[in-house]
Each structure stands twice: as C-alpha cells, then as structure tokens.
C-alpha cells in the first residue's frame, strides 16, 4: 500500500454526513437494507446529533463568503462550521489570540453564525428560519423537564431512536 497524498482535502462534518446520506444511511429502520457498513453507521449516528444535521451546502457557502472579512484561518473556519458556537466564550477556544485579532468584533461573528448556520434544534433537519429553530427549541425545553437534548440520542440502538421521536412530537 502506498500513500500518495496524506491530505487530499479537509472535509466538514456536513460533507461527510451528506456523503453517508447519499449512500443510503438514515436513522429510520430501513437503514438495515442500505449499502452502509455498521462502522459507518456509528459515524452517521454521531454526525446526525451534531450541529451538522441542519446544515446545507448553501448555508455553508454563504457563511464562508461572509466571514472572509474576519481573516480567519482555514482550520478555524472548519471548526466554526463543525461546532457552531452560539456565544463569545465558545469562540475563544476556537479562534487563537481572539482578544488581539478580533477584540470587539467577536460579538459580530457570533451574531453572523447564529443567523447563517441553522441551530442544531430539531432531529430531522427541517431547514426553517434559524431564529425560529432557536425559539422552538426553547419552547420545547420549557415543556420537557428532562435533561435530554432535543434530537440527541446517546445510544446507538434503533429502539431508543424510535422513543426519542415519539417524545418530541408531543
């Protein structure tokens, strides 16, 4: 085996998720018929409960063109897309020397992220207005007293995925 190129390109979580979805991975029981290996399913399950689940190619493109003015490194943009921070404290761990480089602009960056990249609110990525997603998420958290995150399944069994769905449709 010969390694021709160790790094032929970085992929965001969204791109890997899209690739797996294109191969046929999904969270419902028809997944057993899909041409996807169990180890790939574990990756899919992890990505589906991360911020990547509601993203689209267009929203990521928009985000990249708008954050050109902040002069961020490629790795930092990748991290921002994958993590989708929603407060200034979270930006500090992603962008190096945040105080020096950005100073007061970090609030503007956070606001832009919240506008352009959809919030990881609902499980089956419904691409609505992102502010609406955040409002719905708060309403749901008020109704459900438990600490389960909306759409976040920790176990990889199909049974618990089914349970989670029934709880959220209340």
């Amino acid at each position: 085996m010969k390694i021709l190129q160790t790094n032929a390109g970085a992929l965001t979580n969204f791109e890997v998720l899209d690739f797996l979805r294109f191969r046929g991975a999904s969270t419902d029981p028809t997944r057993v018929i899909a041409n996807v290996a169990p180890s790939e399913f574990q990756v899919y399950d992890y990505l589906v409960q991360s911020a990547a689940r509601n993203q689209t190619r267009e929203s990521i493109d928009e985000f990249l063109t708008s954050c050109a003015k902040f002069d961020l490194a490629k790795a930092e943009k990748l991290n921002l897309i994958n993590i989708r921070p929603s407060s200034a404290a979270e930006i500090d761990s992603i962008v190096e020397n945040c105080e020096q480089r950005m100073g007061n602009e970090d609030e503007a960056l956070v606001k832009m992220i919240i506008e352009m990249l959809p919030a990881p609110g609902k499980p089956e990525g419904i691409d609505e207005d992102p502010t609406e997603d955040v409002a719905d998420q708060e309403a749901m958290e008020a109704v459900l007293p438990s600490s389960t995150k909306p759409g976040g399944t920790d176990e990889e069994t199909v049974e618990t995925v089914g349970d989670q769905d029934s709880v959220l449709t209340l």
Binding site: I3, S39, Y46
Partner: protein
C-alpha cells in the same frame, strides 16, 4: 475532523468475485481491507470516498485471482492538534476521564489537563471549583474538548491476559480553556 487521503494499493481480487461488476468488486474488497481500521499517521478509516483509477488485471502464474493496482480516496478521521470536538463521558476515574465519540472511544482526558482547581469526588465525578462555584462533570453531559495530541502506539508483541485491549490510536484531550468542558457550564 475528517480528511481525504489518496492511497494506491495492489489488490488481489479473489476469483469468486468475478461475477460482480469490476468497480463493485474492488470497492467491496477495499472496504473489507480498510474500513474501521487505523492507518498510522493517517487516522481511522471511515469510508471509501471514491475510486480514481484501476490499473492492471494481471493474473500471476499459479494463481487464479487477478491483481489490480487501484488509486482511491479514503475518508479518514484524523483530528488536528487544537481542534475542538464534542463528545460524551464514557469513564471517569482518579487518573482522569475517558471520552467517546460514538465511533471512536479512545480519547483520554488526563487529570492535569482539566481546568485548574478540579477535584475528584467519592461518587466518581470530577468537579471544577470555579471561584467558589462547584461545576461537576456529569456522565450524560456533552463535553467540548480540544485535541492536545494524537499518538499511534506501536502494536505490542505480547500482552498480559487482563490488559486493556490495544488501542492503535489514542487522542489526548484538554478542557483547560474558556468555552470547553460540558456545554452546560457555558450556556
């Protein structure tokens, strides 16, 4: 977190796959060979992205199988140092924590990379003492951590009977920064 790597490999295609279309047979063989395996310095192979080139098809004397030289791209899971990832707590003991990403469970968070005044309680939980407020790390929390280093230990020749299963790729994580640790600490 994920990178594409371009690999060239000489693949022997067993004769019982001769009835399949070539690209399908080769993809199947590559998946059996690489999927869910760790390649040193490249990371954990998640998936075969595409096949760029298939060359060859020679049959060596005395063999019933044909040999192909294939160029293909693999999606590798290889976080870079300084990347922020989000995972769950799998184990918690006096030496630190072990985190998991579902598909990858060998992420250690040693005690010295926890935010400074942290202590280990008798109930098995680590707690951060932030200016008087006690912030515990619960087992169901989603933890954001920064990758501190990645090691690929060499395969051991011998192991004792009860030793932990060998981990070919170990990530050391740190949560000693603003914005890291359980999300509930910062929201």
């Amino acid at each position: 977190m994920f990178f594409l790597s371009l690999i060239e490999h000489t693949l022997r295609l067993p004769p019982h796959l001769l009835n399949l279309p070539l690209d399908q047979a080769i993809k199947g063989e590559l998946e059996t060979l690489f999927l869910d395996k760790v390649i040193a310095n490249l990371g954990l192979c998640v998936s075969v992205y595409d096949i760029r080139n298939i060359d060859g098809g020679f049959i060596f004397p005395g063999d019933g199988a044909s040999t192909f030289t294939v160029n293909f791209r693999l999606i590798m899971f290889r976080p870079f140092v300084g990347e922020v990832l989000s995972g769950e707590v799998e184990e918690s003991d006096a030496k630190g924590l072990r985190l998991s990403l579902g598909f990858f469970k060998d992420i250690t968070l040693p005690a010295h990379l926890l935010p400074n005044p942290s202590k280990f309680g008798e109930d098995g939980k680590w707690t951060w003492d932030f200016n008087g407020t006690e912030l515990p790390i619960e087992k169901e929390d989603e933890i954001r951590f920064k990758v501190h280093s990645i090691r690929y230990p060499p395969i051991p020749v011998e192991q004792e009977k009860d030793a932990k299963p060998f981990a070919p790729m170990v990530i050391t994580a740190s949560i000693d920064f603003d914005g890291l640790g359980p999300i509930s600490w910062w929201v």
